[in-house]
Symmetry: D2
Subunit: 326 residues, 4 copies
């Protein structure tokens, strides 16, 4: 089944992904990973919370870490264009019988907490506290020099259905993998902000969060992170990479935080702002789709993911086995 035509006039205007709220079991261990190693900046903290911001961002945070008994994902948040969009979003979710309620969130104005049909907790806001620019404070750059949050990638038990839903919300598909045998989608990459994706869905037990990605300046910065992690006690947290994706053409690395949440460091994808941008189709059997070059992904990369609060993952209907060797 082909991907749906883009919805160029969606019911509400999502500007971009904004931030992820991770439940972590040890805030200090998380700080050692996200701040001291990756190089995100602390923009706020509380006794059981840590807010992090990347180097070119102006919004208060792109990662909110909350100390919890169990690891998980509290929410994936998106910034909307203007206040009326929040009301349209509420109407959109209610009309589909989906949860939607107004919540209080630190550092944010009006915020709508909703769930997609599979239970992924989505939050929407227009106003978040703004911070002074630090992108030219070169004395602050550390680690992989993360510049901004780039995308969320989720396991979905039914990618066709996920894509249809997010397409309604205005996400436009840039690349997808089709299982030629069934004509069904194995995976899809969808954007709002003009890069290859803000969200992506891969067939698997879902919903679960596969990873959150951060954009970095160049591949050399990813190599610097590998050198750093491998010699400062984090070698076991390097999961896959470095390599060049077939899909997106991005140069990548996947690492795991102390709770196992997967983080991707990512650069060199391409601009997709054109409404008539044609999605690229990959065949599930193409060994170069995940890895144009680079070692095959380990089993953990296919199987492990983070649980969303309040969403119980279901087995995927589609059982095709992707060829893992490039």
């Amino acid at each position: 089944m082909p991907v749906p035509a883009p919805n160029l006039y969606p019911p509400f205007n999502i500007v971009r992904l904004s931030h992820v709220e991770y439940r972590v079991t040890d805030l200090e261990a998380a700080r050692a990973f996200y701040v001291d190693t990756l190089g995100l900046q602390v923009s706020g903290e509380g006794p059981r919370a840590l807010y992090l911001r990347a180097m070119e961002e102006r919004g208060h945070h792109c990662v909110a870490l909350r100390q919890s008994a169990e690891p998980g994902v509290g929410a994936l948040a998106f910034k909307l264009f203007d206040e009326p969009d929040l009301d349209h979003a509420e109407a959109f979710f209610r009309a589909r019988g989906l949860p939607a309620e107004w919540v209080e969130r630190p550092h944010q104005g009006r915020t709508l907490a909703a769930r997609d049909p599979w239970g992924i907790p989505l939050e929407f806001y227009v106003h978040m506290d703004r911070l002074e620019p630090i992108h030219q404070k070169y004395g602050l750059y550390r680690g992989v020099k993360p510049l901004r949050i780039d995308h969320f990638n989720m396991f979905s038990a039914d990618v066709d259905a996920s894509v249809a839903f997010y397409n309604e919300m205005g996400f436009r598909t840039t690349e997808y993998t089709e299982d030629a045998e069934t004509g069904r989608l194995w995976a899809a990459w969808m954007h709002r902000k003009g890069g290859v994706h803000d969200v992506a869905f891969t067939n698997g037990m879902g919903p679960r969060l596969h990873h959150t990605a951060f954009w970095v300046p160049t591949p050399l910065n990813i190599i610097d992170l590998l050198d750093l992690m491998s010699t400062t006690g984090w070698v076991g947290h390097i999961e896959r990479g470095p390599g060049r994706h077939g899909i997106s053409n991005a140069f990548f690395l996947y690492v795991r935080d102390p709770d196992g949440h997967r983080i991707e460091l990512y650069c060199s994808d391409y601009q997709t702002v054109d409404p008539d941008h044609e999605p690229i189709k990959w065949d599930l059997k193409d060994p170069q789709r995940q890895t144009l070059w680079g070692a095959p992904a380990p089993r953990s990369w296919f199987e492990e993911g983070s649980l969303f609060d309040g969403a119980v993952p279901q087995e995927a209907a589609l059982k095709a086995q992707p060829i893992v060797a490039p």
Copy 2:
């Protein structure tokens, strides 16, 4: 005078800058520069024309070169979101008593040719022939590995007025230089597509095109171009750089084509999609605004520019001398 608040609901939706039409006096010399040296790809040609495309682009061309007796700029073209936007654009220009007429352009659908109040020839279209992706054809990459057209920068005899007009069209200011003494704008950078700018205006005899810029992968690619140009006969065409801009934070290089048209190679700016993105203000007296580091710009950089067909430049009202040394 501060920059105007962004017009978040402009009368027609400009997606991004699209292409520039340069008049060149020697098409073969231009090919040697743009194709053989910079690394743009030929997407089409005629007896007196050459169409060029960058490596991640899908639109037919980002540069159209036309053989002419005199060098100049035929038009700066922009892609609009949807067909109705073309009609709204026509209405916008006519309502302001500005030229607006439908024209035929190769490889494009309906195209509106208009002029801004100072005579800059602007063209708008929705459909341009689309090409197969080549971003992963690494055997084709040459020169500086130009990925996409990034922005136009123009001399304006009245930057405040230029900014006001383009702001009406929906361009949002990301950075600007104010002359503290007069409170007037010396320069401003304005975007549609989510980077630092699609267009920019700098005080000077105008209108003239100061430069067209292309986005490249990393600073090392710009160094590669310098090595290449300096040892293949093009050393005299290197005008300014490399360096890091204060404004935009981009790593840059300016070169001159065989007719003197100025081209910038540019990377590492930042994402600006947020409607509440706050523009950064620079003082005209700040020596680090043009060059965070790097040699001062030569006189030619301040004085020379390309003429727009049918637009006679006027002296700038604002005469303040920018401090050139960083």
Copy 3:
């Protein structure tokens, strides 16, 4: 058994490794690999031979390819300091009952062809035709931009014995792997020219040539080669990498030529000119010695190698299994 103390006053002065003579079954396929893909320059050719040179070299060639029925290695050649060194070399080999005869080689002056105790064909010369520098002819740079030949790495059935012999010739050990259980050497890296190695020996069926390596400017050039090879039909020739070696700290990639000869692209090792440079010892059980980070080496990397003409490989005495996962 520890590595022997360096022989600071060897019987003859080897300046550096010089070139390898590869037997290849298809000269045109080899040209497509070494010249069109890796970026070596053709410095000479005959009906059944091709001479290649790297970008900063002045000697006539660093690789000589000879069309043959079977793939193999004709010789590993080394440049000596001065003419008397050739005579001392002859005396050295004859005194040990090893083959040593004067031979004619194109583009070289007096050349001694000898064999080490295990049959590795070694050639020594002082004069090789010199070429004009091309290191600043940036228009010629292609592929991975190979700058110079860096080292040979060989399988040895008895690394302790190989090291002792090459140590006599003046090669100084910079790093080695010891099998703690037996106290025997698993591998060793030895230099003449001031980097981590000119030659190295790894325990295995030997003698066989494991790989020849070329020094490249930066890790980004290795990534460029991966992008190029994976999209121009050479993806199956990428064997291992990219990664950072524990031993040598070099950033590396291993590829296989059309005949299966293994080539390493290598950068970022370190200077070792000090006579009191202390060798670094690694434990065979240390998973980070081969790969500080990066995917484990595939089985082929441990097992496959190129045969030396006239040398029949023997099984290694030492059977310890190296841990392959980093």
Copy 4:
């Protein structure tokens, strides 16, 4: 006058340059520059001294900073191959009526303090305390990631004579600039350790030290340093660059320490170990010899240098004006 033929069997064996002793007026300011900004590591300190080491070095220090009333250079030090070389060195200097005395130096064994015919204080040693390797302690890398000391460059009032003297000591010329009108040398680059130079001489009031250079991994690291210095209060200390030298082909940047001592950050030159390496000759009138590309050197670069203790600079005999514009 051509450069002298290399002395392949010098009277004593200099392995490489070792370290420089700088007199600095403010040790804390110097620390802020060399350690906190450039990224050298502190290997030792005293109340009025600071010893610094680069990331891949094993010798105790490459820079010794001594608090003094006036800035200056205490000595340029070189490591010799073996103890007998020290005695041969003593004999060499005494035979020429030049100062040579045994001195005590912290962290060093027997040390000979001598002076060249123009008064440059040279020190020679064989043993210096050795340190544990830190090249793989990636958590320690900062600033420009300096890997090792690379060369000294000195003003000489008579370059032909300086070259002749250092040639006797075994330094081999790799590149030189000739003033075609007089046939005299304007400048020359000479090596021991196998790169483009360990020492260099440029015509000018001398002797004075023009600069000390450190080798860094890639041009991107030099750009990182520029970004850092320009935004942490050191922008005024950036003197010249970045650029690509014609001579040596190295990518470079010159900065000035708080006392005005000039430091070069340098990478990408080439291997010169061959005894028959042919020096490259440049014409004084060639505008691309200093800068293949890049802004012309400022006047300060031609005129300013550091004074050697106990050596009074003389005016250069050769008055030719180098063309400064590339």
